[in-house]
């Protein structure tokens, strides 16, 4: 199997879907000749032309609004929002329109739309280029929220997202675009939206994570195994909404201890819901406090390198949290 970076896998998914289905088109700011701010769409404009890789004005609500309208009318748009921090002007379109369309039309209208957006900190982007926004959208039924952690999943899940009849928010850990490398199967394959993935087996405790935090969690798990003999099970959530409750609960029933790692602000972040589900439905199996390791509750990811490091959960913080929980 060839090895590739996360961003190359994402580009390959879009390339294959554009080739497979004429209804698929890409729109967003500078997705055309420039190839996108992170080069995710590099080369696609030359290959598929300006009608299918469409530069939009700098106007997020209409990038998404156009996508919803076109999806309603039978197209399969992929809308790129340059940074997740910029998605807020389109919030109403996503919540009030995309999420509700199928419901309000009693099952007649579907919105087969993908909104791709890089999220997260760790690259010195500062207050408006580092945000994690998944909790806002995972809160709303009708939307699917996907965050890949490996190149294999990124490609397979994005292809599934394009083919999904529901609106899918596809958030990509930008810190990992070129840092995360991995094997990707040759030829056509998809990874289904829905199932979480147990990416490391262990009996002592379960760590739940997604995206960049999953990447760090696997490293932390190896570290505590080597140094402390702690065997973690790691669950990559992958599809944040709708959640694979069975896999999440299944691992907890086995280990009885849970650490949830996410980069977003801790308060009311995505991990809070996982914690609530585990305590509610897994109480009989509980063998320690359900712990969260998350970003601190400050309004944004600060710019200064030292402060950003303080903000971000990383391998060492995760390893420490694992040790503390394992000691219970």
């Amino acid at each position: 199997m060839p090895e590739m970076t996360l961003i190359d896998a994402i580009r390959e998914a879009m390339d294959e879907e554009l080739a497979r289905d004429e209804r698929v088109f890409i729109t967003g700011e500078d997705v055309g000749p420039r190839g996108g701010v992170f080069r995710a769409t590099m080369g696609l404009y030359d290959k598929y032309g300006p009608d299918r890789v469409i530069d939009s004005p700098l106007a997020e609500l209409s990038i998404v609004g156009i996508g919803i309208g076109a999806a309603l009318a039978g197209m399969r748009p992929i809308c790129e929002i340059q940074f997740a921090d910029f998605i807020h002007p389109a919030f109403n379109q996503i919540i009030s329109e995309a999420a509700r369309m199928y419901y309000r039309s009693n099952g007649e209208w579907t919105v087969p739309l993908v909104i791709r957006s890089p999220y997260g900190g760790g690259i010195g982007g500062g207050l408006y280029h580092s945000q994690s926004v998944e909790a806002f959208f995972a809160h709303v039924p009708g939307l699917k929220v996907v965050i890949p952690a490996t190149p294999r999943d990124a490609k397979g899940l994005l292809k599934s997202a394009v083919r999904d009849p529901n609106p899918v928010l596809f958030f990509e850990p930008k810190k990992g675009y070129r840092l995360i490398r991995g094997e990707v199967p040759e030829g056509e394959y998809t990874v289904p939206i829905g199932p979480a993935n147990v990416t490391r087996e262990g009996d002592d405790l379960t760590v739940y994570a997604y995206g960049m935090m999953h990447y760090y969690t696997l490293q932390a798990a190896e570290q505590v195994a080597a140094q402390d003999g702690i065997q973690c099970e790691v669950v990559d959530i992958r599809t944040l909404a709708p959640l694979d409750r069975e896999t999440v609960l299944g691992s907890f029933r086995k280990t009885g201890k849970a650490l949830i790692v996410y980069e977003d602000n801790r308060f009311l972040g995505y991990g809070a819901e996982i914690a609530a589900i585990l305590s509610d439905e897994g109480f009989e199996y509980m063998d320690g406090p359900i712990r969260r390791l998350a970003g601190p509750d400050v309004p944004g990811v600060p710019f200064a390198h030292s402060m950003e490091r303080f903000f971000m959960p990383g391998v060492e913080k995760i390893a420490d949290a694992i040790r503390e929980l394992a000691a219970y």
Binding site: S96, R104, W109
Partner: protein, 320 residues
Amino acid sequence: MSLTKEQKLEAYRLMMLIRRFEEKCAELYAAGDIGGFLHLYIGQEAIAVAARYALRPDDNLITAYRDHGVALARGLPTRNVMAEMLGKATGVSKGKGGSMHLADKEKRFWGGWAIVGGHLPLAAGIALADQYRGEDRITMAFMGDGSTNIGYFHEALNLSGVWKLPVVWVIENNQYGMGTAVTRASAVSDLVQKAEAYGMPCCVQVDGMDLLAVYENFVEAAGYVRSGEGPFLIEAITYRYRGHSMGDPERYRPVHEVEAKKADDPIDRWGAHLLEEGLATREDLEKIDEDVDLEIEDAVEFAKNSPDPAPEELYTDVYV
């Protein structure tokens, strides 16, 4: 493309149907049969009815929350629209939508939308799909005067201008965004002037109380847009006789203003036109009025006798 005699008479019937439908809704609201919020189209009937004849049945139509009249003019069944008003299982959205969210996929009526201006980018997207596939369909997007001041309007119209999308943008300027007069909310009072900023050379202001004038301008705009020239903006000057919604105390406008506008009533004007042209007699018009009354009574009976949605319907149609 002028209206045939049959269309002219049918247009009268449709305007009267909308008028009586809305009056009946007001009654049902007062009686507690219709809940929530109710925005009546009375006074604006000519605009929706003109669109019926200016558009092809396969063209797209989308509007804001004051949508009952637009839905009826598009041909949504009176019974099922009334049932939706009452939140019944037989409503056009099985009771999930209600008054502000009528829609019909088959008729390419893409709905009423309750977030002011939110539907404008959608209209551009629907038009983009047609342009992409090389279809010669157009999209007509209705909006109120209030929506021309929100960001959606700017982004959607700009984008339609840049990409030359086949959209006829129609501002139904009924003079008030809720209780705020146009001049207090928009820096220009001739809203059609806004087209200039989006590269739309063809923009028209029309008397929205004059069915024929609206129709002729819609036909011209539709032809222009269908030829691939790009979008077109029309401002139809109209007036709503009722408040913004039921229970509006209407402190923002004097009673004599409303009464003066009623002298310019679009249905009276169209009826007089039909008589003048010898296309109908007074008896013919009275017969149409009676038929409309019967149709409304039938729709109310249908709606009242329809079942409420079953509780399990709450969880249907969340995901495909």
